[in-house]
Symmetry: C2
Subunit: 159 residues, 2 copies
């Protein structure tokens, strides 16, 4: 996903994912050094069930980026409620991927910039995400977009 | 919140927060080296609005820990949907605080253990949280509970 291109393509458009985008999204999630180990058949009904839950939730958005009529990227935006910071809403970004055929063209930068603008328009006080410590190029990428690597991210796998 | 006590009190109970717990929760959020800078009047209506949203969301739980009829801790559990890992649900823990008067007694350990058990019972594949890099005692605490500090946590403040 990350790239060192600082210019951004102006022909990328964004929309909510539809049910029939799910297989293409799963393929992008799996086409990754970390993701390859944990994904399954894109037709697995558990993927569709997760899509339906996100699609029905007004605080959750599964996004696809398109270019020339083709899906070239995906990310999930979740708008989290919380009491902290005077009850501020936060935007959490998860599952960011750019299609392998279009990496290195600034599409990831365009995606995150779009997500930050969307969060700002909603009035979110913060955008947050975590990135595996092995993805050092991603860390440089997020730093270049103004994100501060201020936190340790802890995970406990249950299954 | 964190402590180096490895035993846990057995007289702590947990329940969903009620509207009238909000001021006590806000006071705990503010009674912290980082939180003090970002909270306001516990009676601010924005806190109640955030509470109402969490309370109405089936995937969001604001929890209080009680001991002897007194609120001694708080945390928020959010059950996140996602396509990753075969559409697995994750439990995200935010805004963990133990009341200043009862720190160092294993209450934080009891709280996180309870949250992990609750996530496991729901069938969550993972529990995740982030912790400010300055909270090194908290990092040791989460490590002792089996969490892996595998990720960098990035934040971009918008307001």
């Amino acid at each position: 996903m990350p790239d060192d291109v600082t210019s951004m393509p102006d022909d990328v458009t964004f929309r909510l994912a539809r049910r029939d985008d799910v297989p293409a999204i799963v393929e992008m999630l799996a086409d990754d050094p970390l993701g390859a180990r944990r994904e399954g058949d894109p037709g697995d009904p558990r993927y569709l069930a997760a899509f339906e839950r996100i699609d029905a939730d007004p605080y959750d958005e599964l996004i696809v980026a398109e270019r020339g009529g083709k899906v070239v990227g995906t990310m999930q935006l979740t708008y989290l409620a919380g009491l902290s910071r005077l009850g501020a809403e936060r935007c959490q970004i998860e599952a960011v991927r750019v299609h392998a055929s279009t990496r290195g063209q600034g599409i990831g930068r365009r995606m995150i910039t779009w997500a930050v603008d969307r969060a700002r328009e909603r009035g979110c006080a913060m955008v947050q995400l975590t990135s595996d410590k092995s993805r050092t190029d991603a860390h440089r990428f997020y730093g270049s977009l103004g994100f501060a690597g201020s936190h340790e991210g802890f995970k406990l796998t249950l299954s």
